[in-house]
């Protein structure tokens, strides 16, 4: 289809859908209103399980299966990217610049910023049931800590600090741990992902039953996933392009 034809089709679509959406928005409860039946039930449920952060209660307790699905999506995408970015036949790993001359500032960054960020990430994970944040946000922060080393282009240092196999296993272990808490819920609480641990006191670090455990599992899975995901993209820089990539029909596939 020509560019003009495409814009016409799109314009008709947007006119129809936009009009209908605007009309529908008119009959939606007004912005900022107080009609939230699910909220009312969810807040009460979070209190019953002594979970101060109601969002965490929804994510890890009330709708914990969504989060298992979400971690699985993340896992699938990491495996998918690994498959998609694997070196093609003819692509070789170029020797990256040799490490060794790490600049003072970069070293400072590594020494100071990395542990700090790592601690921050772990802290965000640990307090997921109490303050904003949780396994997901903390996991990303922790993964970022490791990638700060990339600042300054010290890929070699980075590659040594980052045993990918280990992170892949951490990621898988996180998802398995989440499922294991789920099975424990079935075994001791009668349903999958039941919150079987004592709920403790609201707003304490150890409260909310299984929520901190699930947070930790997600933190592990997310940190592993983000590191592996980024590493596949980083590695692309060190692949020499395959010779003569343009595809010719029947190149060597005929018997």
């Amino acid at each position: 289809m020509s560019r003009g034809g495409r814009y016409w089709v799109l314009a008709v679509g947007i006119a129809a859908v936009g009009g209908a959406l605007a009309w529908a928005f008119l009959s939606m409860p007004g912005f900022g209103g107080g009609f939230h039946p699910y909220r009312d039930a969810a807040v009460a449920a979070a209190l019953r399980h002594s979970t101060a952060n109601v969002v965490s209660s929804v994510n890890f307790d009330q709708r914990g299966f969504d989060t298992l699905g979400e971690e699985t999506i993340l896992l699938a995408s990491v495996v998918g990217v690994a498959v998609l970015l694997r070196p093609l036949p003819g692509e070789r790993h170029r020797h990256g610049r040799q490490g060794g001359h790490v600049l003072g500032t970069t070293r400072m960054l590594v020494v100071v910023a990395v542990p700090l960020t790592l601690v921050l990430g772990i802290d965000v994970v640990a307090h997921g049931a109490v303050t904003p944040g949780g396994g997901f946000q903390g996991g990303v922060v922790a993964a970022t800590a490791l990638h700060l080393i990339y600042v300054g282009d010290r890929y070699r240092v980075f590659a040594r600090l980052r045993p990918i196999g280990l992170f892949e296993q951490a990621e898988a272990a996180g998802v398995v741990a989440y499922a294991a808490v789920g099975v424990a819920g079935l075994a001791f609480g009668g349903s999958w992902l039941a919150n079987i641990l004592p709920h403790g006191t609201l707003a304490r670090l150890v409260s909310a039953g299984t929520v901190p455990l699930l947070n930790a599992a997600v933190g592990l899975a997310v940190a592993g996933s983000v590191v592996v995901l980024l590493s596949h993209f980083l590695d692309q820089r060190f692949l020499s392009p395959p010779p003569g990539t343009r595809h010719a029909p029947g190149d060597g596939t005929q018997p």
Partner: protein, 611 residues
């Protein structure tokens, strides 16, 4: 173990088990050798299928309900996620499990260079398919929809060295994601209107609210994502791109169950949440119009293909059109017929894709004209292929035929007297196209390409899927092929299968029963009228007619250029229209995005017109 306990444990287990095994395979993958990985993956998927079978037999007596996290409803409401198993939902999961087992068996030694990742993706894909069929929560359905999607995009492009594969996967990913986001918009709107995500709670709230514009637009928006998966025209463009390029075992799952699950999603959404609110006549009109357009576009495009996998993809689109009409007629017998049809279609379509894979691995092409006569000595593959082609056209005793008989009866009862004629044409076109290719490849008959065929996408660019060439059919490929073909025929002959399907469809469409099972715990189905549906004399005659018509279409395709000049001149007048239809399938992602929005607009207009 009581019935309740079993449902509670097993319904989520069929989703979690493949996820856990996939993780273990990934974590240990480097230490395992390839046969172990194959065996573990096949065993897992077979175990899931077996558990689905157990659940299916249990679902015959009661609806199965599992509240995750133990958030059972108090005073008729709950904050948790629920899994619900009735015969249709569990049946869909079972089809997914069986197809996955066959696909994994077939891909024994496939993709050696990516080792464990292929199996992990397949198992995660299975978890997505199963979770989507069992979930009773709108947002949870979205999550599993996305899981299916993410695994499917990667699986489409597993052969990264194939330029068309990466392109097809990207088109697939963008259009499916866009559809999913429109669905999520709809979920947000429905949440604003009702404050609920659970289908049963949504159903209660919507029934109390009545059909205002917000409910209609919300329904259309949520349905859009599912209709994209179901490949309804004009949301179908991703399907022919993805099917043409995805590895054969993956195509089996795409055509056999993933597309059908899109339709299942729409039907589930309508019957449970919206059937108490929306005007039945409006919904009927909407789906019938969509279905007719889809069936026509799919059939015509199917006839125009020379790339075998792309041809099979368009035949799936044509069948989706029939399913949309049958389900959209809102008649329980037609819905039952669709369910039977889907099972039969899954079997024969999978066989056809697997045969295409065998040809590809042997000759390095899936092009009808390149392969002409090449398959003469591949007797078993040829016989299986032709039988599956006849099955696709509706030949008794294949389950496709039984489903077609029931669907036709149902749509006529719903007042769509022209339904059987359209179904016959679709079966003739799609079956005929397959038989044409079969005759050309395995018998070596027919003339060369005409002007119109020559311009189509060639099947020569497909890359082989096995590292080493293949001269004869290996056992690991032969068994799934013959087993699936036999299953397609046996299911159609099972005594009482049609009756059971009709009963199950009646329960599937029972809104009150679903809501009561989820919220009040009354899981028994209650008395339902004894349904009877099955082969009838009229039906068999119609099936044989469609097989005859398919044979005629195949002959026309093989020797069409030998027709008298006057007739050819008349046929040539259709050429500009065909050319336009073909050029709309441009492979351009911008076009597809524009068509997507155009389609949503069209559906909204159809839904808002006065009845």
């Amino acid at each position: 173990m009581t019935h309740d306990q079993m449902a509670n444990a097993l319904l989520p287990a069929v989703v979690v088990a493949p996820i856990v095994v996939a993780c273990l395979l990934l974590a240990l993958g480097r230490r395992l050798d390839r046969p172990t990985i194959d065996v573990v993956a096949i065993a897992t998927s077979a175990a899931v299928a077996t558990a689905d079978g157990v659940l299916l037999s249990a679902a015959g007596n009661h609806r199965l309900v599992a509240w995750l996290g133990g958030w059972r409803p108090q005073h008729g409401a709950s904050v948790g996620i629920v899994f619900v198993g009735d015969q249709v939902g569990v049946g869909a999961a079972l089809v997914a499990g069986v197809l996955m087992t066959c696909a994994l068996a077939y891909s024994w030694r496939y993709f050696e260079n990516i080792h464990v990742n292929f199996h992990a993706l397949m198992l995660l894909f299975l978890a997505g398919l199963t979770g989507f069929s069992l979930s009773g929560d709108l947002f949870n359905m979205f999550v599993f929809f996305e899981l299916m999607g993410v695994a499917a995009y990667a699986l489409t492009a597993v052969k990264v060295e194939d330029p068309t594969a990466v392109h097809g996967a990207l088109n697939f990913g963008v259009i499916n994601s866009l559809g999913a986001y429109i669905s999520l918009m709809g979920i947000g709107m429905l949440y604003a209107a009702t404050g609920q995500l659970n289908l049963a709670l949504l159903s209660r709230a919507l029934t109390a609210r009545g059909p205002d514009v917000l409910v209609v637009v919300g329904f259309v928006a949520v349905a859009t994502g599912f209709l994209v998966k179901a490949a309804a025209v004009p949301f179908h463009f991703w399907l022919d791109d993805a099917h043409a390029v995805a590895p054969t075992p993956v195509c089996v799952l795409f055509s056999g169950i993933m597309v059908e699950l899109g339709l299942y999603g729409v039907a589930r959404l309508y019957w449970v949440a919206f059937s108490g609110t929306l005007e039945a006549g409006t919904i009927q009109r909407l789906f019938v119009v969509l279905g007719v357009v889809t069936a026509v576009v799919g059939s015509v495009m199917c006839l125009l293909q020379r790339h075998l996998k792309r041809l099979l993809a368009f035949s799936t689109i044509a069948h989706t059109g029939m399913f949309l009409i049958a389900v959209g007629s809102l008649n329980p017998v037609a819905t039952a017929g669709t369910a039977v049809y889907v099972v039969g279609h899954a079997a024969v379509k999978s066989v056809l894709f697997l045969c295409a894979g065998v040809l590809l691995n042997r000759f390095g092409s899936v092009d009808e004209f390149t392969l002409q006569g090449k398959g003469r000595d591949a007797r078993l593959t040829g016989i299986v292929f032709m039988l599956a082609g006849l099955g696709l056209a509706g030949m008794p005793p294949f389950a496709v035929g039984l489903g077609k008989v029931m669907a036709e009866e149902g749509v006529v009862r719903a007042g769509l007297w022209w339904g059987p004629v359209l179904f016959l044409l679709v079966a003739a076109a799609t079956g005929g196209a397959v038989l044409r290719v079969g005759a050309r490849v395995f018998l070596g008959i027919g003339r060369g390409p005409g002007a119109e065929e020559a311009g189509a996408m060639s099947g020569d660019e497909e890359k082989r899927e096995l590292a080493t060439g293949m001269t004869r059919l290996p056992v690991t490929m032969g068994i799934p092929l013959t087993a699936l073909l036999a299953a397609g025929a046996i299911v159609g002959l099972l005594p009482g299968f049609g009756d059971q399907a009709a009963l199950a469809a009646g329960r599937f469409a029972g809104r009150a029963g679903y809501v009561a099972a989820v919220l009040d715990g009354t899981t028994s189905y209650g008395a339902s009228p004894a349904a009877s549906a099955g082969w009838s004399v009229e039906g068999i005659v119609l099936c044989l007619a469609s097989v005859g018509a398919a044979a005629l279409v195949a002959l026309l395709g093989l020797y069409g250029t030998a027709l008298p000049r006057q007739i050819l001149a008349v046929l040539r007048t259709a050429r500009p229209a065909l050319h336009m239809m073909r050029s709309v399938h441009s492979g351009h992602i911008g076009d597809y995005a524009a068509w997507l929005l155009f389609g949503v607009g069209g559906i909204i207009v159809l839904a808002m017109l006065p009845p």
